[in-house]
Amino acid sequence: MVALVKENAPILIVIASLFSAYLLPVFMQYRRYGIVGFLALATQFFVLFGGIFLATQVLAKGSFRYILAGWEAPWGLEITIDPLSTLFLIMIGLINLLILVYALPSLADELGNKVRATWFLTLFMLLTAALCGMALCHDLFNLYVFIEVATISGCAIVGAKGDARSTEATFKYLILATLGSCFVLGGIGFLYNLTGNLNMLFVNHELAQTWSNYQYALWVSLSFFIVGFGIKSAVFPLHVWLPDAHSSAITPASAVLSAISVKGYVLGLVKVFYIAVGPLIVASLNISDILLLLGMGSIIAGSIFAIAQTELKRRFAFSTIAQIGYIFLGLGLNNQAGLTGAFFHIFSHALIKTALFLIAGFILIKTGKSQIKDLTGIGKQMPLTMGAFTVVSLGMTGIPLFSGFIGKWNLLLGSLEAGNWLAILVLLAGSILAAIYLFPIIKQAYFTTNQDYAELKENTIMIVPILILAGTVLLLGIFPRPVLTLASQAASMLLGQ
């Protein structure tokens, strides 16, 4: 039995999330709400341990494939397990587990009743399954299907609260995200038309021989992908849906969307551009420069918009746009250090942004305040929370000894290697701007007069995930080795083809 699970671990990770998503409503029907929470937690544990198990296997014996339904590659589907996908699996498992530990005690209160809470968990599990599938799939159409499942479930958990503001944000998100998936599907159609294959490896082999005959068609296809994935991962000119959606959703939803879901689409872009099409073709069609420009624009514009916001969650939502910019910049650099930095930044930003959203939600639950100007003197009332906030903000700005630094340092190295001085300037400016939009909150929390808050207790279980996240940010800044190894192996795998 154990051997069977070990052998089929890649597919079982996806299937377990899917199973638990559809088992939850059954338990809800018979009012076993205790089992609902336990099942959700157990599934995330399984994803996390599955990810770690696959990562050790990949580090020990290199990437491998898992063949579905006994059909070999050109006819059947296959799943690849490589450093990149295991990095994503570990990230999804860890973040979702912590978010669930935070969310489970308060979910029923926040959504109104336990039935709605169960439906929320169902959608959450579907999102997990879709993201795990995106991380593992090795087939363009499979990628599209998982993107679509992630989009619909992501939209639905934005609107889980059911008030007017979040419903409107959901509709906006749904329309724009579906527009994006139309573009992705069109791009896949062009690639299929050119190569006659949907398996990424076979597409790559075909294109490597014949791409110079179809330069214009390939250009159209890749620009379809850029627009589609750009809308879904919210880079600067295409970001309009993100602030509304991420700030009006309930806390666990905005945390999972900001931290993981957006990066799932970046992963889709990476898979298409670097595995299916190949870095050489991407560089020689000047797509890298477009990614670089999008990244720089996102860093600057997202940070400046974030400074202008007065609401805590909205500021964090705009900061997500800026941080996505770093990842695009790393992808556009198209060299080893740049890609390593981008992948490490994906992981560290997931930790940081989850912590920030959970803190915002915790403050909202405890004090009922969401505006930044109301948070005077809260540092003395909630020392643990604001301590974690300080750690995480330092990580976001990229101070050494915190996890944000490692990613940004690698991005800097990549820019130096590419000789791109503009990118270096933008990276430094981005750090300064991050400091401008985060440090005033800390200053206000500690160095202004106290307000009279009624008995603020921090001794609930909800504080635990926040502290774990802050601790991980610190730990990863000092001992980045495990994640950095996976990230650099992923980068060399993508560039080595």
Partner: protein, 139 residues
């Protein structure tokens, strides 16, 4: 009068619509159509009934609890059928080699596909019915 004719016509047509839907579901591997199209046809039968006789009477026939359970059942059934291949020591969703595959052209050919389409058809039908009731319910 119009109401009377509508009700009679629907009652006469309903079995045929349902029968055709089930036919399309189960012949998915032999002829055009399949579980999705067949499931929608089955659901359209129920929707016709609820449109003519009123949503309350339709919901009496298929309570929300039942559609809810069927929806879960469809997906879980698909997953379980996929796990058959895992238990037989090969990949997920293994079909040929896991169970006996009949003669091509017969109804009982294609191994697990027959069983899988059954679950998916149920799931699609119940989802469509749920969607219809969600859109029609007042406030």
């Amino acid at each position: 009068m119009l109401d009377f004719i509508l009700k009679k016509v629907v009652l006469i047509l309903l079995p045929f619509i349902q029968m055709f839907g089930i036919y399309v579901i189960f012949h998915g591997h032999l002829s055009p159509g399949g579980s999705f199209a067949g499931g929608i046809i089955v659901a359209v039968g129920f929707i016709c009934y609820s449109l003519v006789f009123g949503a309350e009477k339709g919901q009496e026939k298929i309570p929300h609890k039942i559609t809810n359970l069927i929806e879960s059942f469809g997906t879980l059934w698909y997953g379980l059928m996929g796990l058959v291949g895992v238990l037989r020591g090969a990949g997920f969703l293994l079909n040929k080699g896991a169970v006996a595959v009949g003669q091509p052209g017969n109804l009982f050919s294609g191994g697990l596909i027959f069983l899988i389409t059954f679950g998916v058809g149920l799931k699609v039908a119940s989802t469509m019915v749920t969607l219809f009731f969600t859109l029609t319910e007042e406030e």
